[in-house]
């Protein structure tokens, strides 16, 4: 396989008990590409992302992420895979009892980096998302948009080549949602691939990128 696609799904089938989620699907995401993943509720969008960060394994087929066969990956190597990805969820998943700085620094602490490197990189990404002035605040002191920026900063901390976002604007008001989309566009412009699950079709129209849809256990190209 080539190094160009950062994600490759080859003949992936996923089943839960007797329910089929995906039937023999194929998909590629190139380095630096921005792709929307859309589909009805329960169609399997989140399962699609889980296959990438190995929270789910297919019954058939292989998933490659940055050249790594994720389906054959040893359980012990899964944390390393996740460190190479930036993951953003709708519900933020911040540590409520740590301030903004500590939440971001935590992503670096798990990698065993030195304190000085952690400090430098944390301040860098907080500045990138425009939250340097809020670094001593707890998540509860922040607006939804700001909390999502902290999550994005945390996702960027380990300099991933791929950002996965599951409904990142789902909990935000339109203004905050636009600012988050602008941030993702900036991130993508720096060369990072983005795979975003969304229901927000206004955003898809306003920030046009390649769009794929999950329908009837299959994946179809909606816009190239």
């Amino acid at each position: 396989m080539t190094e160009n696609p950062i994600i490759t799904f080859e003949n992936i089938s996923v089943r839960f008990d007797d329910r089929t989620i995906f039937q023999n699907i194929n998909f590629t995401l190139d380095n630096g590409e921005f792709v929307y993943l859309i589909g009805a509720t329960g169609s399997g969008k989140s399962s699609f992302l889980k296959l990438i960060y190995r929270d789910l394994t297919p019954v058939e087929g292989t998933v490659h992420v940055a050249g790594i066969n994720v389906t054959a990956l040893n359980d012990r190597k899964v944390p390393k895979l996740r460190r190479s990805l930036g993951i953003v969820f709708q519900d933020f998943q911040l540590l409520p009892d740590r301030n903004v700085y500590d939440n971001v620094a935590f992503a670096l602490e798990v990698t065993g980096k030195s304190r000085s490197v952690i400090k430098q990189r944390t301040l860098e990404v907080l500045s990138m998302v425009g939250l340097s002035h809020r670094r001593y605040n707890l998540p509860d002191d922040l607006s939804g948009g700001e909390q999502q920026r902290v999550v994005i900063a945390r996702a960027l901390a380990n300099e991933p080549r791929l950002m996965l976002a599951d409904e990142p604007t789902g909990n935000l008001d339109p203004e905050a949602a636009h600012s988050i989309m602008d941030l993702f566009s900036q991130i993508n412009n720096r060369g990072m691939a983005v795979l975003m699950v969304t229901h927000n079709y206004d955003m898809v129209k306003r920030y046009p990128h390649r769009t794929v849809k999950i329908e009837d256990q299959n994946i179809i190209e909606v816009r190239r």
């Binding site: 889980k50 944390p79 190479s84 998943q93 911040l94 540590l95 935590f106 798990v110 065993g112 380990n158």
Partner: protein
């Protein structure tokens, strides 16, 4: 992962979820204190039964024998391993004892000359009723021995009760330990369950299972240390001050094996092991069960 991180996070985790930590420590204190109380009371009860058993004497009454015969009987009696000590009571001494015990006034020792000389045998607490019965039968056959007397019924009752006491005691002890372990483990499980979102976030950013687990283990160890200090303190307070004050006839109950550090050491070890092991078990369970989305 640095040790400093583990220690810092362990203390922070303790502080952040104060209520959950206090609940875990309380469960540990109750568990360790219960085990400690049972051990202390149990040992003392066992000690009392053993002392009673030790107080049973065998009396060997002699015919009128010369000193040579008497010495040979004494040396044969001493050769029994069930016998820890022997005392010779002459006819005169027997008369004095009789007068002291029955208060026979006006009668001279000469009038009490019918009392025989005897040997009093003190028995080892390990000697069983069967051993003693067998020994008595043998002694009765010694030349110069008139009769052998001992409180067989008391010995048999004590032996039977002791056996029952040990069986019931071990049963209750195991039940208390089991209840304590269940109580502690479930409390720790609930406190760690309350932190499942933290575990989820840790896994999301690529923390290894070890990275997630170690601060929780350290926290469990801290809870164990705190629980050990409190439980040992309460135990000391109870047995050195409270019980002697309110039930003076109990006095200060002895420490098992007559040394304070055996029981306190065991209580401390139990608290540490339960804190550590409970946290390990709960984190293993939740780390494997927690998915990140």
């Amino acid at each position: 992962m640095s040790v400093t991180y583990v220690i810092k996070e362990g203390f922070s985790g303790f502080r952040r979820t104060r209520l959950a930590s206090i609940t875990s420590v309380t469960a540990l204190v109750i568990a360790v204190l219960l085990v400690g109380l049972f051990a202390r009371f149990g040992y003392n009860a066992f000690h009392v039964v053993q002392s009673l058993k030790q107080s049973i004497e065998v009396e060997v009454f002699l015919l009128d024998v010369d000193d040579d015969r008497k010495n040979r009987i004494a040396s044969e009696l001493q050769s029994y391993e069930q016998v820890t000590e022997i005392t010779y009571i002459s006819k005169e001494e027997a008369g004095t004892i009789f007068m002291e015990e029955f208060g026979t006034e006006g009668e001279s020792l000469a009038d009490l000359n019918f009392l025989p000389a005897s040997f009093r045998l003190y028995l080892s607490p390990d000697a069983t009723a069967d051993d003693i019965r067998l020994m008595v039968v043998e002694i009765e056959r010694f030349q110069g021995v008139d009769d052998v007397v001992f409180n067989q019924q008391l010995l048999e009752i004590l032996e039977e009760r002791l056996e029952m006491f040990v069986i019931v005691g071990v049963g209750i002890g195991l039940f208390i330990l089991f209840t304590a372990v269940v109580l502690v483990f479930n409390t720790i499980r609930l406190t760690i369950y309350a932190k499942r979102n933290i575990i989820r976030t840790m896994k999301l950013v690529g923390a290894t299972n070890g990275f997630v687990r170690r601060p929780f283990l350290f926290e469990g160890l801290l809870q164990g240390i705190l629980a050990a200090v409190i439980a040992i303190g309460l135990h000391w307070l109870l047995f050195q001050l409270i019980i002697p004050y309110f039930i003076p006839q109990f006095g200060i109950l002895v420490w098992p094996l007559d040394r304070w550090y055996y029981l306190t050491g065991a209580m401390a070890a139990l608290a540490l092991i339960m804190g550590l092991w409970g946290s390990r078990w709960a984190t293993r369970k939740f780390i494997s069960q927690t998915t990140i989305s």
